[in-house]
Amino acid sequence: MTGARRQRQPESATAEREVVISRVIDAPPELVFEAFTQVRHLSRWWGPEGFTTTTRFFEFREGGVWDFMMHGPDGTDYPEWITWTEIVPPERIALLHGESRDDPNSFESTLAFTPHGTGTQIVMRTVFPTKQLRDEAVEKYHVIEGGKQTLNCLAAYVAEIAPTAPITVEKEGP
């Protein structure tokens, strides 16, 4: 903690531990929702360009598990373990996301699908157990995402001194 950090108070109990990402997709909620419900769909889009997944186990239901390996374009493998805590078609999916069943650092994401004109707005809200874990996830996913190891030091450094406000990224689809 630095003096600079303490100046800002979190806006809510979870504000400094969460990341909110939203996107509008030009398709009805039923169809967007469906893309989250089966491996044959998920394997086509999960992860950035160049990533693939190998699924060991998949059962889409509340309490069900998706146990899979994510393969980065540089050949690195990342174990992933997801369990769904709430499924309300075609409106809402809540899931717990970690590296393994017993991962103490797993975090919860909720995905809300709402009609937006002729399309669907997805709002993904992720709440980490602590601010530190949020910062670590930001850093970890940075490493995963680009495999750009040279930026690690800077990412870690920035995460350490960055402000405590929630990170909100708005991006609209084409």
């Binding site: 600079a4 398709a27 169809l31 889009w45 950035p48 996830a137 920035v158 350490e160 960055a162």
Partner: protein
């Protein structure tokens, strides 16, 4: 010699190693320029130039304390850098790009059925 203060954004400001050193020192708390210059083995005018750049891009703020001027971190200036680097958001934004493309294909396939 410090480089000329030509930068206008946080990305350029932290590209300079000595300015990163200053930010790293300020993480521990506010300091007067003389302290910073001594710790980093810079001249005082050199340190002052770097501090001016860092202030201009909103990474550092200054306040008077008696006869001293104390420099401290103003981490709000790093927010754009943090967001740009933020791998979690990029991971999901890129995933959602692919989701979008995939869902469009799905939509078209269903309409053809």
């Amino acid at each position: 010699m410090a480089r000329a203060a030509t930068t206008s954004d946080a990305f350029n400001a932290i590209a300079e190693p000595q300015r990163r050193d200053i930010l790293a020192l300020l993480r521990a708390g506010e300091r007067p320029v003389t302290d910073l210059a001594r710790e980093l083995g810079m001249s005082q005018p050199g340190a002052s130039k770097h501090l001016r750049v860092l202030r201009e891009v909103g990474l550092v703020r200054v306040r008077g304390a008696g006869k001293q001027r104390l420099y401290g971190l103003d981490a709000r200036g790093l927010r754009p850098v943090h967001e740009w680097l933020g791998g979690f958001e990029r991971f999901w934004n890129e995933s959602f790009d692919r989701l979008d493309t995939y869902v469009q294909d799905l939509k078209q396939a269903r309409q053809e059925d």
